[in-house]
Symmetry: C2
Subunit: 145 residues, 2 copies
């Protein structure tokens, strides 16, 4: 099983403003922007070498990210790991008794199959699994992931 | 200026126990282990493809990470970005009025020159800059960074 750090996610009240800061101060470029209406979020993806920084802005206060901001304030929200087979990864977690938020994968912002694992499983860190079809071909990763 | 996501850091009361979970459930391997006595931390670095997950365990409650755990609980602590020239990166931040924790670089756990930037600069995210000499030679990165 090979697993890679796909992105680190930040919750922010204004994703574009934070992306502009990362660009101006650290040179990170916006690689993709998406609105996921059913999750109530706008998502900006910044390229940072082989890794990515994802910034999530809630579309309203009564969304999961809106409630996170109200409770914890802006900052780090979750880590995403790319895996070659998300069904196998979820089965391994389930067999170990891990607490899953998504028992079955759903489709994420960029069309990948994703699933979230509860923070109690990984020391208080909310973990997202992302199925990456070209996983392992590090020289051939598309620009946005 | 090229900047890459070098690692995501997690503060944990027991780094070895959390590393074992990441290994058993996601297949991540420990790439390096260091004790930085002057910072009061034990540091475990997990390989996750080209990225790294760093787990920091405080050596006592009266350390920066010990106080973080008492205040916020275990979980995500900071993001580290690799830069080719940390003096140039700090000068750019200083010129933009960013609030720096380290005005001049110091030597981090693995012998790299590092500097921390206050969370107010990047939307509540504590950011570490790491000078990477072989930055950009992605095929030649050493295993531990």
């Amino acid at each position: 099983m090979t697993t890679r750090l796909a992105h680190a996610n930040i919750a922010a009240p204004d994703a574009a403003a934070l992306a502009e800061k990362f660009h101006r101060l650290l040179g990170l470029e916006v690689a993709a922007e998406t609105v996921v209406a059913e999750q109530g979020v706008r998502v900006l993806l910044l390229a940072a070498g082989e890794g990515r920084v994802e910034i999530t802005e809630p579309l309203g206060p009564e969304t999961p990210v809106g409630r996170f901001l109200a409770k914890r304030g802006p900052g780090l929200h979750h880590l995403a790991f790319g895996v070659p087979d998300i069904d196998a990864a979820l089965a391994r977690l389930r067999a170990a008794g891990a607490r899953l938020i998504d028992a079955v994968p759903r489709v994420g912002a960029e069309g990948h199959r994703i699933a979230f694992v509860h923070p109690e499983t990984f020391g208080g860190v909310l973990v997202e699994l992302v199925e990456e079809e070209d996983h392992g071909a590090r020289g051939d990763l598309p620009p946005a992931r």
